[in-house]
Structures are given as C-alpha cells and as structure tokens.
C-alpha cells in the first residue's frame, strides 16, 4: 500500500517535533564522537522542512518528500545534510507508486551510495538497514528501533568524523543512527494510522 500525501506530511512533522525535542541530546551524543553540532544542524533542517511542507498546494507524497529533501539539503550542512537530502530525494522518486519497505530501502541505498558506508561502520546505515529488514518482515516496533540505536554503541566507527577516533568511538551511540531512529518512530506513529 502506498502512502497518502497527508500521512507523508504528518510523518515528517512528527519527525521534526521529535528532533526539536531531542536537539540537545543529539548534540551531546555528537560531542562525544564528532563536533557536537548534529542536534542544532538537524533542528535547523527540520524547521525548514516544516515551513516547506505546510504548503497546501502539495498534492502528492512525492512533492512533500522532495520539498523535505531540498530543505534538508540547503539547511542542515555538514555530512548529515547531503545524507538525509539524498535519502529523501530518492524516496520521493518512488513514494507515489511503491509501498513503505521499498521507499525506505531507496533511502537506505541513497545513503550507502552517498556516504560509501556499509552496515556496522557506525553510521546512519546501522539504523536504516535493520529498519528496512524489519519493514519487509512486518516486525518494526518502537522497541526494535530503540534496540537498534543501542546496538550502535559497541561499534567502531569506520566512516565520518567519528572514524578519526577509531577505538575511542566505541561505547557511544551514533548520533546519525539516533536521529534516523526518530524518523522511523515518527513513521510508526503517523503512517497507516487510519487503517
């Protein structure tokens, strides 16, 4: 089943709400293994997403998702901007025709391609990958997402800023995997609600 325009919009608005609530926490996570700006960068991005997708003239999920992509691309900066931007952009290309597992998988593939990262490199991929698998088997729950966030803790970073710390990156959650986790918790809450 495909998403409706309203579901797509509500999903992203809920994502925005959660990011803004957790802004400080995300920056604190980033402080440990990066440069400490993931929360403020993401908050700036989702605020722009909110502004862009409120527009009532958007009548297709793809239009909403593409607007969100452009907001993330132009407002987040750093590495997260192009990574979220690429994911949303590629999701927008199939969201009108395909169902959720395929849409999220398109996002996963875009992130892997852009960031040249694989599973267990301690990146966003370590959230998106397991979520795609869980969606395919219809086993995605909030508890699963929270466990998946925790599962990034023992990993050693191989990509991104944290990779520079090497062994020292072990023992911290990956901020990008956590912010992505909020995207999927928002998705569980808002998509398919009216079934």
């Amino acid at each position: 089943m495909t998403l409706t325009t309203d579901e797509t919009r509500q999903w992203l608005l809920e994502f925005s709400k959660r990011i803004q609530e957790q802004k400080q926490y995300l920056s604190d996570l980033d402080q440990a293994i990066g440069d400490g700006d993931h929360g403020s960068n993401m908050a700036r991005g989702v605020t722009a997403v909110e502004d862009m997708i409120k527009d009532d003239s958007l009548t297709k999920p793809s239009e909403v998702m593409k607007k969100a992509a452009m907001a993330m691309i132009s407002k987040v900066g750093g590495a997260s901007g192009p990574l979220y931007g690429s994911a949303f952009l590629d999701m927008s290309k199939i969201i009108d025709e395909e169902s959720l597992p395929e849409v999220v998988e398109a996002g996963l593939n875009a992130i892997k391609k852009r960031g040249k990262a694989e599973l267990e490199d301690k990146t966003m991929v370590d959230m998106w990958g397991p979520v795609v698998e869980a969606l395919k088997t219809d086993t995605l729950t909030q508890a699963f997402i929270e466990e998946t966030m925790e599962a990034t803790k023992p990993l050693k970073a191989k990509k991104g800023r944290a990779s520079y710390l090497n062994e020292r990156s072990i023992g911290h959650l990956d901020p990008g995997a956590v912010s992505s986790g909020y995207l999927f918790i928002a998705m569980i809450e808002e998509v398919g609600k009216n079934d």
Partner: protein
C-alpha cells in the same frame, strides 16, 4: 579574541560584500547565495571550486578569466551546502559542462557530490577532481584519506589554463586526476587559528613550540617540537616530501611556499631560501616558484611547502600564463 569584525555570525557575508566591491570589475555575487562568479564567463568548460571560508584568498580570489568561473563560500571552516554549489555550477555552465575542484574533506565531498547529482538532474554534465595533496597524515578530524590544502591552487591555475585552451570536460577530468597525484604538501604551525564564532584558538602550542603537519582547520599534525630555525624546518619538510617523490635529476619541479595567515612574507622568503638549498642537494631542477598567502587558515602562524612534479613544459607554461583574477598575482 582580537579581531576586526562586527558580528561573528556575519563575517562571511560581510567579507563577500567587501570582496565583491573591491573586485567589482572582475567578479559579482549571485543574489541570495554565497557564490562569487566571474564577469567573464567564456565559451569553455566551467571550473568551480569552493569550501569553507577562512582560507582567503582561496577560493574566490582565483575567480576570473583563465582560472575559476565561480567559487562557493561556506561558513568558516565548513562546507557550503549543495544548493549553493548548484548555483555556482549553473552560473558557470554554458553547455560544455562544469568541472568541480574539491578539497578532500568529508563534508565538502558529500555536499559537492550531491550538488553534482542535482546539476545532472538539470542536464548539466559535471565531473569532480578531488585534491588530497597533504601528505602529513592519513585520516584526520574532517577527512578520510589525505587532506586537500595549498596544492589546490596549482590545480586551479593549470586546469584553468587548459579550460581556456578549450579542453573538454572529460579531458580536464583526466588531466586533473593525473595532476593531483603529482602535487604534495606539508605544513608547519607556530600558533593556532581562532574561528570567530568559537572565540579561542583551535589548539594550544607553547610559546616556543611548533607542530609539523597541522591541517588548515587546525587538525593535529605528526610531531611537536621546540621551535627550530628556518633551515631546520626546511630540512624536515623537504625530507618528509622527498619520501613521497622520487626526485629525478632531469625532472622538473615547482615549489609553492604558502603562508597560513599570520606569517610575514619576510619569513616565507627566508624559508624559501632554505628550501632552495635543501632541494639543491637532490640535483632537481626547480622550474617554477611561488611565495605568498594563497591558502590560509585565518590567523594561524606557519606555512606550508608544496612541491609539484611537472609532467612536461605544458604545465609550467600553464602556471606562467597571464590571468585576470583578484589574487593570483
């Protein structure tokens, strides 16, 4: 922090305004974007570079006839976003495509890569040449692999000349990739840079200390020592560079001594004189020399030494060609 600024969050915008006023006959700013474009967009492949600000005159100072078509300015020490780079690409394209010259930092690579994809969606052909000339360390704070530093200006100048000669996008990409492999740089810092919005130096060196291999954003280098003479610093840097080259007696090389922001030209010339003596022992031929502040790190004291191994006289001619830019000189 002692700086001649107003609001630390506005330094990039105010700098761009001043820069475009000073060089209004050569460049202009695209409205609503931090993109500086040459007034003289020729009928050739466009050449676009950029990155975080704080490295002036790189990159906007190299916009003009014979070098860059456009430069995209990010916040201090952070990459411009893809929509900004896309504007630079669109302004530089006249149907023959655009070559991006990107320094190897994760943020820059991702943002320029995304911009490339957005441009391709608008049917503009784009290729990228990635510069990773800093041999000091592998993998650092903002980089997977080696960092891109002062050697980038050789890439701007040589590819700028080739683009003006009418080389195609594909040819420029191949020439650029080959060129980058023959450019190596290593730096030394005496003091750290202070990012205006941070307000304090990025790292601390004692009054009598220097650090070899520091990056242009203050990334850690490979060795801290008590302050040395210019002669000893030249010996260390040349020694380090010579490990990355096999200096050939009949080979032709170019040398760039680049000030990092707070080191006087006097010291840069003193240092060049010592580099010349060190290199003389390798019997190599120095066919090109350049000295000055070209890829700075705000107010960092120190300098970098770049050596390029020329593939032939065409590259030397390309470096010597006249250009009309604010800062090549």
């Amino acid at each position: 922090m002692k700086k001649i600024i107003n609001d630390s969050s506005r330094v990039v915008d105010e700098m761009i305004e001043g820069f475009c006023f000073a060089h209004q006959e050569l460049v202009k700013k695209i409205d609503d974007y931090r993109v500086i474009v040459s007034r003289d967009i020729e009928n050739q492949v466009g050449l676009v570079s950029g990155g975080g600000s704080g490295h002036e005159p790189a990159h906007a100072g190299f916009v003009g006839e014979g070098m860059l078509s456009a430069a995209v300015c990010g916040e201090v020490f952070s990459s411009p976003t893809p929509d900004q780079v896309l504007e630079g690409i669109k302004a530089s394209d006249n149907g023959q495509g655009v070559l991006l010259v990107v320094k190897n930092y994760t943020g820059d690579v991702l943002n320029f890569d995304m911009a490339k994809e957005l441009a391709e969606m608008e049917d503009i052909a784009v290729e990228t040449v990635l510069v990773d000339d800093d041999i000091a360390v592998e993998d650092s704070t903002y980089t997977a692999g080696k960092r891109g530093v002062a050697g980038t200006i050789f890439v701007h100048k040589i590819l700028g000349a080739y683009a003006r000669q009418g080389k195609t996008l594909k040819e420029l990409k191949e020439l650029g990739d080959d060129l980058v492999g023959r450019i190596k740089t290593i730096g030394v810092a005496l003091t750290a840079a202070t990012v205006p919005e941070v307000g304090k130096p990025g790292f601390n060196l004692k009054a009598d200390e220097l650090e070899y291999g520091v990056g242009i954003h203050g990334e850690p280098g490979y060795l801290r020592e008590t302050l040395k003479t210019s002669k000893d610093i030249a010996k260390e840097l040349v020694e380090k560079l010579s490990q990355s080259f096999t200096f050939k007696e009949d080979g032709q090389y170019g040398v760039l001594v680049n000030g990092l922001g707070a080191t006087p030209l006097m010291e840069q010339y003193v240092f060049l004189n010592d580099v010349k003596k060190e290199l003389a022992e390798s019997n190599m031929q120095i066919a090109y020399t350049k000295v000055g502040n070209y890829m700075t790190s705000l107010d960092m004291a120190g300098l970098s030494l770049t050596i390029i191994e020329f593939s032939g006289t065409t590259e030397i001619a390309a470096l010597n060609e006249e250009v009309t830019t604010p800062s090549w000189g």
